[in-house]
Each structure stands twice: as C-alpha cells, then as structure tokens.
Subunit: 322 residues, 2 copies
Amino acid sequence: LTRSERTVARIAVDLLGGDGAPAVVVDGALHALHLDPTLRLLLVGPQRALDQVAGHHRVDRLETGANGGAIAGGAVRAAVRAVRDGLADAVVSAGPTASSVAAAVSGFGRLPGVSRPPLAALIPAAGGPVILLDVGACPDVDADDLVSHAALGARHAAAMLHPDRHPDGGGPPDGPRVGLLSIGTERGKGDRLRREAADLLAATALPAGARYVGTVEGHHVALGGRAEVVVTDGFTGNVLLKGLEGAAGLAGPARAAGPPDTAAPRAAVLLGVGGVFVVCHEAATATDLASGIVLAQHAFPPQQQPLTGADTPVRTPGGVRP
Amino acid sequence: LTRSERTVARIAVDLLGGDGAPAVVVDGALHALHLDPTLRLLLVGPQRALDQVAGHHRVDRLETGANGGAIAGGAVRAAVRAVRDGLADAVVSAGPTASSVAAAVSGFGRLPGVSRPPLAALIPAAGGPVILLDVGACPDVDADDLVSHAALGARHAAAMLHPDRHPDGGGPPDGPRVGLLSIGTERGKGDRLRREAADLLAATALPAGARYVGTVEGHHVALGGRAEVVVTDGFTGNVLLKGLEGAAGLAGPARAAGPPDTAAPRAAVLLGVGGVFVVCHEAATATDLASGIVLAQHAFPPQQQPLTGADTPVRTPGGVRP
C-alpha cells in the first residue's frame, strides 16, 4: 500500500536526537498523538526511553539494542531502515543535521541528478507562504546545486502549497514561482555564485509548471508574495531562517510555550532523497518536535523521476538565455 | 578645527543618489533640517535640483555643473571631494552601493590594512544594539577580510555604542563583544570560509578592548545580547538585514510613513575609509534619507591607526589558539 491509499501516516521518531533527548522527544511524540487521532508513531531508541511510552495503543516501538544510545546516530539510522522496510512512512529527528542527512542519504539514496540534498523550510509570510531552501544541509554549494535545489523546491511547493489555489489569486495558475535569493533584483547583482546561478536558472526548464522569476531579496522572504520557492545556499538560508525566527520571537529564551504552530513548523523537510525525512532543531522543544511530526504527516513522498530529463531541469540548447 | 571642536555637523548630501532622486533627497534633507536645529547641509547636485532649496539659511549648495546629472556618480564624487577639502564632515548618498564605495575609496583612501571596506548597519535588537557588518559592500570576501572587518566593527562599536554603559549591564566593562555569524555555535560548524575565519579570529587581538566571543547565529542578531558586533560577508549580511527589516515591517510597500527612526537608521556607515560616508538604500524614502543624515551627524571620524600594529589585529605567534 502506498501512503495515500492508507490514509493513516506512520511516523518513525528518533528518540535519541536533540539536546533534550529522549525526554523532550517522548513529550513531543505524546503531544503530537494528542493533537491528531489518526497519527501512528514508531518510536525508535533504547529500551529505557521506550518504556516511557509503553502501552500507548497508537505507538509502535523499535528497540535499537543496549548499545543503541552509545552509537551516535544509531537510532536515526534504524528509523530510516524502518521506513525502507515499510514499517513507517517518514522519519523525524532532532539530531545533528549532518548525521541526519548522512543517514537519509545512505538509507534512502539520493534522487537522480541530486548531488547535495537540501533542507526546505516553510515560512508563513503575510503575503503568502515561502519555501526556503537550503536552510542548513549544504553550507558550501555550486551553481549546479542551486539549480537542482530550485527543481526540488518547485516539486515540493507544488505538492505542499498548491499555489494555483492561493486565496489571494496572486500566484500563477500553472505552478510555483521560483526566486534566487540575492542582494538586488538587477542583473549582475550578488556574489560570484549568484551571478552564475542566475544565468543557469534563466536557461533551465523547471518541473511542476514552475517558473523562475529572477532574484529576490531578504525582505521578500520575510513578507512573501514574490515567489513561493526561494533558493539559496545552506549557510545564508540558515542565517536568514534563524534571523526571521528570532524576529518573530520564536527562537531563544523568549519563546513562549504553547501548542505547536502547524502553520509555521519549526522543522524542515530533506528533499532529494528517496524517502520523507523531517529535521528539527537540535534545541527543539516538545512543541517543536510535535510540529515536526505534523509536518512529516503532511509531507509527500518523493517523486523518483530524474531531475534531468523530460521533467526537469533541462538547459536550453545554445547556452544561456539573454 | 576637528569635528568635535566644532559641535555643528555639516553633511554633504548627494542629490542625485537613489531611485527617487533628486525630489526624495531634497525632501529628506528638509526633513532632517526640521528635526535638528544644529544641522548644516551641503547639497551637491545640478543647478535645477539646488534651486528647490534656494534661500534656506542652513543649506550650502555645491553645483556639479550642467553635466553633473549626466555623469553617473558625478555628484557623489563631488560630495566626497567637499569633505576632503574641509567643506563638510560626512557624505550621505542613496546611490548604488558600488558607486558609493568606489567614490569613497578613491576620494578618502582605504585605512591601512583594509582591503575591502565594509558597510556597518545598526540593528536595535531588544537585548541590546547589534552592529552588523558587512551588509552589502563586499559580497565575496576571504577570511582575512572578515578579521579586518571584525577590527573595524570593534572600533566603530566602541565609538558608537559605549558598551560599558549599557543599561542591562550584560556587556563587558572593557569593550564590545565581537561574534562571527555562522550556522551553529560549536567549533567546526559553518562553511569553509567561516571555519577558517573562526580560527583566525580566535588568534587575533582586537582593538578598542574588544574580545571575540565565537560564532553567533541569525537569531542572536535579531534578538541581541550575545555580541555588540557581528561579522559576516556582504551577501549574507545584506540578506539578513533585509529579512529583519521585512519582518519588522520596515521594507516593502507595507512600510508606514512617519518620522525617521533614529534608533533604527535605514542606512549604513562605510568603515575602513579615511572619511565618514553613510549609504542609504537606493529605494530610500525621504524619511530614510533623513535617518541617514542623522546617522552621519553622529558617526565618528575614522581612526587612522593601522589595523595591523600595536592597536590591532595582531595574530598571536605560533598560530591559532586551540
């Protein structure tokens, strides 16, 4: 059975990921179960942590063995295997991003044409939602990576946002608008990487009916309305995301406790791998973990079509469009 | 007479800089004069623009000639010359950043040890003010540039912020705290540039009693309290600044008209050159221009001590501190 035929999402949760693990992860899992009666969880970790959720009828448990806690990333790798083996539909982890990406890549594999899988965050801006990627998986990228990320972001946006149904009617009828994050909207602005990527993107056919709308700036991400997908390197994306979270009072000690804001998940989806993997902050609270689990419930399984093919992205022959 | 002996600041304003020039610049200049009875302006531009402010007793006028408007950056270069010739204390321009930096470098010269002069913005965060640099002058930098920018930012913060007098008492008694913007606070996080710069900064003696406090993240810039000076490349800094402005409702069409917010100037100071130069957004409103003029009034003339010397930064012998 595929996910859509089953309707009930089963999420594998890494009990050992994050600064507050396992206690905070257990709290987050129980919080998520309380929010959604259709949710099923597969908690993955050592026996002692699993005992805290024994007997919950919507929780399956996967013990990682006596040494599961001692091996860094042991639980997240077991969670990825569980999805591959059909025991769950998606993984949620608040472990270190590098370990999570490594576990996802080795367990799920990269999609064809993807060299560095990016993390995509959803920013609920006033002018419309913005999917920002990469937000930390790939601090060092080249222009080809940014083109590949634009294609992955376009597919993700088409599945998650349905931009043709935006209430403001500002979006195009046929697919998401994709922008390249830069420091000016005129041609020739930006650093070397952005100038090269802007030329490549202008010459690339994007999937999912998406179109490249040129460079966008930091305030366009904060305010929304200019593009549904904004592409950048993982260094800049992470800095901007955390800056916006800070400005919104979502980060740091000032953050208020409360129900998870499912419209502004404090979690990101790893794109470009052959399975659904949601990464939470390492400093995630129980509320953050719950919002990550909700996000994983609603993420769509990756399309296995190659990025370079009839689908996208195809460089136009003869080089770059003027 | 030096600036401090004169008490009245005389600001040279580029009438031709910015998308709305000259009308918006004239409005901004009149706005600034209305706010501060001690201000004197030297408006620099072609005759037609100067006629709009004829007869104001606190305005001097410098005509750039019949062709002043036709030569790109002609007025800003004349404004820089006016400061060099002692006719004004500082320049304000909303022209293209690249032209402004070029005019300042060729007219004022770089300070010793400075290869790429950075733009420093002041962010009035709740936890304390943050000077963020570079915010757009140098999109492509190397680790040595970031060290030089840290030293320039330290001097600027010591002059502008007096961190020893912070009301919260959280600052060090002896000088500003300097952080390197990155995507995690553990050693080894970040991209290649940040890993190299973090090692260099840990081994560098900063001027003005400043100390390097390690890496900081995007939310530390938004919230303040971790460092008075945050150093980054001009690409990331520009994206973050515009993102925070967008989140605060300061950017884009939603921005409210009103008096200039002198606590949050929509302008940045160019450091590392031999004169005071304030850069406004090209899309600056009259209010933004006025806040830039107020900022220039309160900027301190650059210190001419070399960055590499008894003052700073000095690499410790034997390489990098562990």
